[in-house]
Amino acid sequence: MKNKLFLSGNEALARGAWESGVSVAASYPGTPSTEILENLAKYKEIEAEWSTNEKVAFEVALGAAIRGKRAIVSMKHVGLNVAADPLFSSAYAGINAGFVIVTCDDPGMHSSQNEQDNRRYAKFAKIPLLEPSDPQEAYDFVKIAFELSEKFEIPVLVRLTTRVSHTKGIVYVNERKEIPLRNYTKNFSKFVLLPVNAKVRHKILEEKLLELKKLSSQIEINRIEKGKNGLGIVTSGVSYNYAKEVFEDAWFLKLGMVFPFPEELFKEFYKNVKEVIVVEENEPFIEEEIKILGFKAEGKKYFPILDELSCDIIRKGYKNEELPHPENFETVKRPPQLCPGCPHTGIFYSLSRLKVTVLGDIGCYTLGALPPHNAMDTCICMGASIGNAIGFEKAGKEKIVAVIGDSTFLHSGITGLIDAIYNKGKMTLIILDNRTTAMTGHQDHPGTGITAKGEKTREINIYDIVKAIGVEEIYEVDSYNLKETLKTIKKAIESENLNVIISKRPCALLKEVRENFAKKTKMKIDEEKCLGEKCKACIRLGCPAISALNGKISISPLLCVGCEVCKEICPQGAIS
């Protein structure tokens, strides 16, 4: 029983990487990828770090692999956009010890701004792609990825999706194999991508791809499963599991290594079937590979490009059937919301009162765009708020407010702020410093002074950075003090200068904060003073602990943390 564990895809992948002898791991947190580094960091044999952003994480892991230690970098799908620059070059340069890149895609956009299909990156960057379908394969495939990487001196992309990352299943595990440090010798023509060298490396890369293409038809993770009828299903990743349930009697070409596409294996499969159906989420990646070879196959004709697949979507799409099931009911919507005691609440409450244009960013504070605050106009990608604000100003000439979190500011906000200074921006930037990367579950970052391994380190001081960049007007506020917050934001907006407000108040869900709150008294409503339905000033705060039903306001003792912000805004003094 000792080697049989119940693991999520992310946990299993981390375990497999550890067993493969990985020594260096780097990442920037992002759902659904976060738990990979969190689990890698627990192993004493692994140097694991939260990097400032995905590009840096990629470069750290690549550096380790060039030096001679097996290394892994993990990130969510959009993170690979940030790291795309070193990704493409790393394929040319190649590596020394094994180097695995993990992308966790989010079909259905459970917590992402788009649903890009990163299988396309493998083809674009010209590196092999492995796609596990469940936690056991996440564990197995990462080991194969390291072997492939070293054999071909090439980075290998492992693509998970939300339903693999966050599905738990039984995984049979083993022990770690130590891999000694490889010799490093300076290699100008390989690792220095001057045009003269890159030209040679490109040719070498194309040759590797031809070899990898041959291997793709032989590798055991690409297999034909015999069926009882003439239907041939080609599939990979989690889609395999859905298809297995819907097409019980079909032939399957189950692809674990999706790129380069296994041409020879497909031809063999094709001989046995009358019709080829490709079952894959989002982009028609496999379908296109088959069609490029000149074979008939259908996929997107039956299954949508949008959203996640499921057994019922596949069944409906191809067979136009549905299993009998009860009718669907409308029920109440529960959109995500700022937590009780959230330090962002006071900021968005103030911004919505001031009715200014607010350009947002990626993090918990993106929820400020939802009712009751509706206080955010844009959310594009990590670090975009400041650059967007510069553009807004250039186009419209009015004062713009940009908001960004502490982790996001360090990730890619700094460069935007430098640009704003250089190009004479006038915005008010609010840095929402809640002392953590809250959205993804409280990972540390350079501003918290704690590493991914839980060790103390030098804390990056955001105030000092902002000052050093050249901002002359800097304010600090505590968002629990509503009056002060509102006054400060108003003053900053009215100012002609570029200015920065740092709102420094730790996330209400941090352990120390929760312990402090536990000692506080919960807020209560004096029903005689409360005007109920007629007033609702407290409801506009958007605190989940406060609710109104049948004309009466109540504060849930279960949810209230005792931050006392609602007490400040009740005009009747009915909250204490």
Partner: protein
């Protein structure tokens, strides 16, 4: 119980212990010799939103999520959340275990939308195997609303072929030492609560 496959949805609202309950259920099934897959969505759904977990138990499980029309059991710790998942249940007399707790979301407080009425009646039309648990009353009895999830697991255990010792073993491994007694007692209370329905 000769059935070899169970598709169970556990749902509710963030903070109710849905994920812990589904973890205990899944581990108990594994200990009892089954293959199990469990799927839930992390991230934004934790922030006051609805939370769900699909637990699939069988000899060999492929899909981590339950297909519409294949759900055998719906265990719901919040009333309105039950409605969100009924169309995943099988047509023929699925088992529904539902809390009478109503957790009001801010959109209702703001008057933007309303909380569904007559939930019990709607569900009765779907299946006669409907058990409504008076959760508010029970949490007053057990004096800790945070163990309500374990009460529900105890009640659910009446419908699954797992030995009580396996359940207890897994609960022991999953809850903190100082909360063990109240959890085990609550599990038994939940199991025995079936007597209230004849």
């Amino acid at each position: 119980m000769d059935k070899k496959e169970f598709n169970i949805i556990i749902c509710g609202v963030g903070g109710q212990g849905i994920l812990l309950a589904s973890e205990i259920l899944a581990l108990t099934a594994i200990e009892s010799g089954f293959d199990v897959k469990k799927s839930e969505v992390h991230g934004m759904s934790q922030r006051g939103g609805s939370v769900f977990s699909h637990v699939r138990i069988g000899e060999k499980v492929y899909s981590p999520i339950i297909e519409k029309g294949k759900g055998d059991i719906l265990l719901s710790l919040e009333k309105a959340e039950t409605l969100r998942w009924v169309h995943y249940l099988k047509k023929d007399e699925p088992l529904i275990i539902m809390s009478d707790l109503e957790i009001i979301p801010p959109l209702v407080s703001l008057g933007i939308t309303s909380y569904p009425k007559d939930v019990e009646k709607m569900l009765k039309d779907i299946s006669s195997k409907l058990f409504i648990i008076p959760a508010k009353k029970i949490s007053e009895e057990v004096k800790d609303i945070r163990v309500l999830n374990i009460f529900f697991l105890g009640f659910l255990s009446n419908f699954l072929p797992f030995d009580i010792k396996k359940w207890e073993e897994i609960i022991k491994s999953k809850v903190p030492e100082n909360k063990l007694e109240i959890n085990l007692n609550t599990f038994i209370k939940g199991k025995e609560f079936i007597k209230h329905f004849d």
